[in-house]
């Protein structure tokens, strides 16, 4: 909740700084900048690159600040670490009271600490010492060294002077102390506002993990091998899907019989999400490469078929007529008119298919695989290796984004007339 408020605050602050600071000095005087009606004119809405940069930086800043990263100068309050102290008041059955101090050493999980030595002190309640990891809690049997124990009928009636009874919790300087139903004390040091590394590791841990896995590997394969296998499956599956789907789509666009024959099949298979096919594919082809590739083939096939069919339907009839009356044969019409004319549609389909394939491969690897990006994060999550999981998610995102950028580049290079007719 606090993170959301900070995020919105940064969003708004950056907007005002950029709008009234940066833009004052660097005014672009192109045509769009002279438009007065921009609200509602989609063509006048251009992404503000400052906003994009600040947006990405903000995410890393918040991530770093709330995980205690060394890379980020500002931190949210971290967990309490060090020696915490509180006093409890023990009441003997005869009504007599005595105070004793508990010293708790709070350490970062993973470090070695010694429980500090304390003087037992005066009275029938003796001082105690204990240790607890940050973000953890510790059950303190405060009366184990006391002269009168709970068995004798003694009970804690106050902590740091605040009266308590069983089941209640009070705040002390460095955390909270709860009195359990059985009368012992449970000390939780203050957690601060940072995330514990097992939930969300700081960015440098993730980066360090990239280096580690890239060199040493994880689950018998290096990072690059995991990613390579995922990409390999996508590319082979997509290529096979396109190799079958595009000719099938053309056939459906050009022949009554093909259209009639495959229409029910395509229309039935199209809404079935590829993920729903995973169980069947595993039954039929196992969890090896062939199973994955069959799945991705099926994921790409229908999309490519439909886009090729749409590409053929999208050919203006006047172009077909023009080609025929210029003396083109059916084959020449196909080669010089229908195929080039359907390329924009096919590219759109290919972009969608690549996106679906990439999502499907990761999901398929999550279910069962020996290697691959999805398998890597699945196994890591079982061991609560959050840094590997986050690293995997980031890399999967980057690769998916990269694929889309490549497809778009290929599109502008191969079909420059798209959207300009």
């Amino acid at each position: 909740m606090i993170i959301l408020i900070i995020y919105i605050a940064i969003f708004a602050a950056a907007f005002f700084v950029v709008r009234f600071g940066v833009h004052k000095f660097r005014q672009m005087r192109d045509f769009t900048s002279l438009k007065t009606v921009t609200f509602g004119d989609e063509s006048a809405v251009r992404p503000d690159r400052w906003a994009s940069v600040i947006s990405v930086v903000t995410i890393f800043l918040l991530w770093g600040a709330f995980t205690g990263s060394n890379w980020v100068p500002i931190h949210a309050p971290g967990p309490f670490v060090g020696d915490a102290e509180f006093t409890y008041t023990l009441e003997a059955p005869n009504g007599e009271r005595d105070d004793a101090t508990v010293l708790v050493r709070v350490f970062n999980v993973g470090e070695e600490v010694e429980i500090p030595e304390v003087e037992p002190g005066e009275g029938f309640a003796k001082n105690d010492a204990s240790s607890v990891g940050a973000w953890r809690s510790d059950l303190i049997l405060m009366d184990k060294n006391d002269e009168i124990t709970r068995k004798d009928g003694a009970k804690v009636v106050a902590i740091d002077g605040q009266p308590v009874s069983a089941g209640e919790t009070v705040s002390v300087a460095a955390g909270k102390v709860a009195v359990t139903s059985k009368g012992s004390l449970n000390f939780s040091p203050a957690g601060g506002m940072q995330m514990e590394p097992i939930w969300l590791p700081p960015p440098e841990d993730v980066v360090k993990r990239v280096g580690e896995i890239a060199n040493e590997g994880y689950q018998n394969f290096t990072l690059w091998e995991h990613l390579y296998w995922s990409l390999f499956r996508v590319i082979v599956g997509f290529a096979l899907g396109a190799a079958v789907g595009i000719p099938l789509g053309y056939a459906m666009g050009l022949s009554d019989w093909f259209r009639g024959w495959f229409d029910p099949i395509v229309e039935f298979m199209r809404p079935v999400p590829p993920l729903a096919l995973i169980p069947l594919v595993i039954i039929w082809a196992g969890i090896g490469e062939s199973g994955k590739i069959i799945l991705l083939f099926l994921a790409a096939l229908w999309i490519m078929t439909i886009s090729a069919r749409a590409g053929v339907s999208g050919v203006a009839i006047s172009k077909v007529h023009a080609a025929y009356s210029l003396g083109a044969s059916k084959w020449q019409l196909m080669r010089h008119v229908i195929v080039p004319n359907s390329l924009p549609e096919i590219f759109t389909g290919a972009r969608v298919a690549m996106g679906v394939c990439w999502g499907t491969v990761v999901a398929a690897e999550l279910v069962a695989a020996e290697k691959g990006a999805g398998m890597m994060i699945m196994v890591a999550s079982r061991f609560q290796l959050t840094d590997i999981v986050i690293m995997g998610i980031i890399l999967i995102g980057i690769i998916g984004y990269g694929i889309d950028i490549l497809m778009r580049k290929a599109e502008t290079w191969l079909v420059p007339w798209k959207g300009r007719i």
Binding site: S318, A322, A323, S325, L326, G327, H336, W417, R420
Partner: protein, 269 residues
């Protein structure tokens, strides 16, 4: 020699609701080589259907078309088409569009290069030959379409409202170009148009068609196309005889439209 005969063409097809449409009824016509005939008529008079039958895209239910002593059965390079919206191939340069016909016929480049270059000169696109067609303006695109059709050296050119999508100024320039090309190449041309003025300016013969069923209403022989070659077409339009004809044909088509409207209203009431 290459006369085009349209012999008793009728076209009638069924509708899904059980009715039928008589798109054309008993159209008979003969064109000699080198004649330019413009076709006018209210919408629904079957002029586009007639053109599609001539091109070979549609089969008539009765009658036949004879060109060069053989019947027309399908599209062929001997009958070139020019469409309202260019119908150019965006993935080819201007030059590749113009040379499409010869290339499809398997003619080698050195044999068609001269013709194509000459045609690009004639339509004034020599400087644009390597441009992509989507970079050209509408008028230029239509000039590419004309050159592409001529590069194939067809016997008959069928134009389906070729200048309909152009602005008034470009349209006037293009009308001059069509006349020039017609005279220079001596092609037989059938031109469908919505503009009475254009039909009068360009048509050596003018065919007015009537709707429901589509049929020939009246035919004119006009002097304006011959007069207009190489001249300012605006001068021709000032000719009182031109104005008279225009009024005559306009009121004829107007009457037909009125009749259709009246009939539709009567059906509705």
């Amino acid at each position: 020699m290459s006369t085009l005969s349209i012999e008793n063409i009728s076209m009638r097809f069924d509708l899904p609701n059980g009715g039928h449409v008589q798109a054309l009824q008993d159209v008979t016509l003969e064109l000699n080589t080198g004649e330019l005939m413009s076709v006018l008529g209210p919408s629904g008079c079957g002029k586009t259907t007639l053109l599609n039958i001539l091109a070979g895209f549609l089969a008539p239910t009765e009658g036949r078309i004879i060109l060069n002593d053989h019947p027309v059965t399908g599209p062929d390079a001997e009958r070139g088409m020019v469409f309202q919206q260019g119908a150019l191939f965006e993935w080819m340069s201007v030059r590749d569009n113009v040379s499409f016909g010869p290339r499809m016929a398997g003619i080698r480049e050195k044999e068609w290069r001269g013709t194509v270059d000459h045609l690009l000169d004639v339509v004034g696109l020599q400087d644009f030959k390597d441009k992509a067609v989507y970079e050209l303006s509408g008028g230029m695109q239509q000039r590419v379409a004309l050159a592409r059709c001529l590069a194939n050296d067809p016997d008959v050119i069928l134009m389906d409202e070729p200048l309909g999508a152009l602005d008034a100024l470009t349209r006037e320039k293009m009308q001059g170009l069509v006349l020039k090309l017609w005279k220079e190449t001596g092609k037989t041309i059938i031109l469908i148009t919505h503009s009475v003025e254009e039909a009068l300016l360009l048509g050596e013969r003018l065919l007015v068609m009537a709707p429901r069923p589509g049929r020939i209403h009246k035919e004119y022989r006009l002097p304006f196309a011959d007069d207009g070659v190489g001249k300012d077409l605006r001068e021709i339009k000032k000719n009182p005889a031109f104005g008279e004809k225009r009024e005559e044909i306009l009121s004829m088509i107007w009457d037909m439209e009125e009749e259709i409207m009246g009939r539709t209203e009567a059906v509705g009431a």
